[in-house]
């Protein structure tokens, strides 16, 4: 038994199919004569089987195969985008610096809650110009109040919110056209 014993590396290379054919043949011949090396080869084969099991059961969402250069490109792209964004911000500040009285608060900033105009096909219903929706639950109360002040109807998607009374905001004196009780003319 003059051939050298297997190392874990050589056994691994054999299992991976990375050995040249003549080296692989020599390794195989050695394991037929050397019990410890045969056991070493079996251990590597067993590990290979177990790793195949581990790889085939690895969570699918993690298994995004990308070229190796992807990650480097991604980092470079991220850095380039950040640099462009910084340059754009700087240019914006320099160009508008003398006009803006409050640089920290842009003119275009609108703090009003979102309102969505609702298109109603029904001819008897109010026209779309005086119906709004307040879909944002966080600002629904404010939205509803502001809509009521402007004499608009509020269409609530859930149908649970209070709809402001339209006649209460027509500008007529309170009670003049009360719906709660008869009005003497």
């Amino acid at each position: 038994m003059l051939k050298p014993h297997l190392t874990r590396d050589s056994a691994e290379q054999y299992i991976l199919g990375a050995l040249a054919p003549e080296k692989a043949a020599a390794l195989e011949a050695h394991t037929l004569e050397c019990e410890p090396c045969a056991v070493l080869l079996q251990e590597e084969a067993l590990l290979s089987e177990q790793l195949t099991e581990a790889a085939s059961t690895f969570p699918q969402e993690e298994r995004v195969i990308r070229p190796a250069a992807w990650h480097a490109r991604r980092a470079v792209t991220g850095a380039a985008i950040a640099a462009l964004a910084a340059a754009a911000s700087l240019a914006l500040v320099l160009l508008t610096g003398d006009k803006a009285p409050h640089p920290s608060l842009p003119d275009s900033l609108d703090s009003r809650p979102p309102m969505v105009a609702v298109d109603l096909d029904d001819g008897d219903s109010p026209t779309k110009t005086n119906v709004v929706a307040c879909p944002d639950l966080a600002t629904q109360d404010f939205c509803t109040r502001k809509a009521a002040e402007r004499g608009l109807l509020v269409m609530n998607p859930g149908g649970t919110a209070e709809v402001p009374r339209y006649e209460a905001h027509t500008g007529l004196p309170e009670g003049a056209l009360s719906a709660r009780q008869p009005v003497s003319l």
Binding site: A18, S48, E49, L51, T52, I65, A68
Partner: protein, 192 residues
């Protein structure tokens, strides 16, 4: 990439089922090593592992020619056939040694108990999660290489290298590094 690989495998399997010898050759070339490694993992001697792997393919082709194969899912079908042949081989060795005690045979020629081998080969849930955790810690590119090469579909290293844009040598180096990490993770669990 995965889809084209799957389509290629399906196309080869369909042709092999239709009796295309070239398709069989391509499938054997692709999966033969996996079959040999699975037999080695069961404790079969390397020379016998090669013989059994050859016999595995011969049996499958024979079954196809007799019209007994309705579908061809590789490498699983070949691995199952090889495991059956290994168990049969073990029984034959035991029968032949009936005149003398099995213990008198050289250790490497002891019959392989398929059930024991199967238990040894399967990872426990805990080992599996430990392996997954170790795999999640390697770099994304190394993980991609490992998953492409070792997910059981037997993608050749040259194809893995082409897909990820690395050299074959670098792919093998990465595989060895990942194997080392996973081996450590599995051994830690075993010794715990």
């Amino acid at each position: 990439m995965e889809a084209s690989r799957g389509t290629d495998e399906e196309s080869l399997s369909r042709k092999a089922l239709a009796g295309d010898r070239g398709a069989w050759d391509a499938l054997v070339a692709r999966h033969h090593r996996r079959v040999v490694v699975s037999l080695l993992a069961r404790g079969v001697r390397v020379d016998r592992a090669h013989e059994l792997a050859q016999e595995t393919w011969a049996r499958l082709i024979q079954q196809q020619q007799r019209g007994l194969l309705t579908e061809l899912r590789l490498p699983n079908l070949a691995l199952t056939q090889a495991a059956f042949l290994a168990a049969d081989d073990a029984r034959r060795v035991r029968r032949e040694s009936i005149s003398g005690a099995v213990e008198e045979l050289p250790e490497r020629q002891h019959p392989v108990d398929p059930s024991v081998s199967a238990e040894r080969r399967l990872l426990s849930e805990e080992q599996l999660s430990r392996a997954h955790a170790a795999l999640a810690q390697v770099s994304p590119s190394a993980r991609s290489v490992f998953l492409l090469a070792c997910d059981g579909q037997e993608l050749p290293h040259a194809e893995v290298a082409a897909k990820v844009g690395l050299s074959v040598q670098r792919v093998r180096q990465i595989l060895c590094e990942v194997r080392k990490k996973l081996r450590t993770a599995l051994e830690e669990e075993t010794h715990a």
